[in-house]
Symmetry: C2
Subunit: 151 residues, 2 copies
DNA sequence: GTGAATGCAAACTCTTTGCATGACT
DNA sequence: AGTCATGCAAAGAGTTTGCATTCAC
């Protein structure tokens, strides 16, 4: 699929932002940004690297990771949690409590919460999607009380 | 922290379920379940393995992974996605669209959706939590239209 | 010319798998 | 006794890091 108008906008925006923030404009960065814009939503570093190789680029995977880290720091890309990855588990009783998690960006502390309105919104939402939804994860991120006080 | 009543209940329940499903009752499994019950919510395989070693157990990490897989299959533990792990990225424009993802359990297809009611619920929820929330991820899982038809 | 950014390769972390040994039923 | 489950160790996937080289400024 060709890049959409929005993705072109984003690529330009990202390149401009890098320049205005004093980062050097290199071919690898431009290529990574272009691929990111073209592939759209929810792309892994691995997929970007593969796409670069397919295009005959000599950009290495280390640069992909470094550039993603930079783009994330500048909030030019958002890191999303889709599934897989570092798995965490918790005991589950049949019909037991249903809760989600808040993770502290600073210290990594994980707390649990429950919210009926949230569940209701997800249930209603599930009805209007084409997918047959059978599970959901919600993760909030921010600063925990301890780290807030330490500011 | 000592095991709570609930976690003891869960450990017993899990052991009973394994037995009733014909799985052998082994020391490693019992230890893993005990650790899982004690550590509570959101534990990684790595943390379980570390705790086992700390306790002087000879249980290897392969058994931890195999037991977690088994427990997940029996729905005795729930796999939760907290963050980290396989990172996926997407272009982000400042003030750009805000959306979440539905992942097909069968084919891995990722689709995006937006839902105002969901966002509203999360915003309201954020206000009553002690954390200073600055981001959130919502991931739904189920079967995509294509895979549903293929049933 | 100088320092930032790159590519390569090695190191690391987490997870999975093969296989011989050991333990539950 | 039979076979399920284990531990070990090796292999695999994804990511990070050190270092010499290259390239943008």
């Amino acid at each position: 699929m060709a890049a959409t108008d929005t993705s072109v906008d984003w690529a330009d925006h990202a390149l401009a932002r890098l320049a205005s923030d004093g980062y050097r404009s290199s071919a690898p960065r431009a290529e990574i940004i272009e691929v990111l814009a073209g592939l759209g939503c929810s792309v892994s570093a691995r997929e970007i690297t593969a796409e670069l190789q397919r295009r005959g680029s000599t950009t290495g995977s280390a640069s992909v990771y470094r550039t993603l880290e930079l783009l994330e720091r500048l909030k030019l890309v958002q890191r999303v949690v889709v599934s897989e990855g570092l798995a965490r588990y918790e005991p589950a009783l049949p019909g037991g409590d249903h809760h989600h998690h808040v993770v502290c960006d600073r210290c990594g502390k994980v707390s649990a919460f429950e919210d009926e309105a949230l569940e209701a919104a997800i249930n209603r939402l599930s009805l209007r999607l084409d997918f047959a939804i059978d599970a959901h994860d919600v993760t909030l991120r921010g600063e925990c009380p301890g780290c807030r006080r330490a500011d």
